[in-house]
Subunit: 114 residues, 2 copies
Amino acid sequence: MLEKVAWMNMLYDFYGQLLTDRQKDLMELYYCHNLSLSEIAGEFKVTRQAVYDTLKRSEQTLSRYESKLGLAAKYKTERNRLACAAAILEECETAQSSDRLQQARKIIEEVLKM
Amino acid sequence: MLEKVAWMNMLYDFYGQLLTDRQKDLMELYYCHNLSLSEIAGEFKVTRQAVYDTLKRSEQTLSRYESKLGLAAKYKTERNRLACAAAILEECETAQSSDRLQQARKIIEEVLKM
C-alpha cells in the first residue's frame, strides 16, 4: 500500500498537470496530505463514493500516461544508478581508489546514455 | 533551425507516444529521416500543405505537453550537469584531487534532488 502511494505520488509529480483542477485538488488531499476519503468528501460536500470515483479516474489517467511514456520508471532507474555513483564517490573521497572512481564514472556515463 | 530540429526530436522522444499513428509517421519522416515536405507528400499521396498542417499540429501538441510538464527541459539540464560531473571525474582519475572529487559528488547530489 505504501509503495502504491509513493508510486502515485511520483506519477502525480510527472503527469499531474494533465489532470483537471478538481482531480488535482483531490489527488493532493488524498496522496500528499493523507486525508481520508470521508474527510475529503466532507470538505467538498460530496459523497465518499464521488471522491473515490474521481480518484480512481485520476489514477487511471496518470497510469495511462505512464504506460505510454514510461518516464517515471526511467527516472526511478536513473535515480537509483546515480545514488550508487554518489555512494561510490563518497567512499573514494576517503580511500582515493581509482578503480572505484572509474566505476562511478561508468555509472554516470551509463545514465547519460539512457 | 538545427536547434529547433533537435528540440522537436527531443519532445518527440518524450511525448511522441501521445500522438496518433499518422502524426508519428510524418514526424519521424520529417524530423528523424529528414525527408522534405514534398517527399513525404509523395509518399502518402497527399498535398504538401496537408503534410505541413499535420506536422504543425503535432508540433503544437508536443509543445503543449512540454509547457504543462516541462520534463524535456528538466532532462536537458540534468544531462548537462551529469556531463560536467563525468568530465570532472575523468580528470580526477589521473590527478586524484579530492577537492574536484567532492565537486563531482556535489553535482550528482544536486541532480538527485532535482
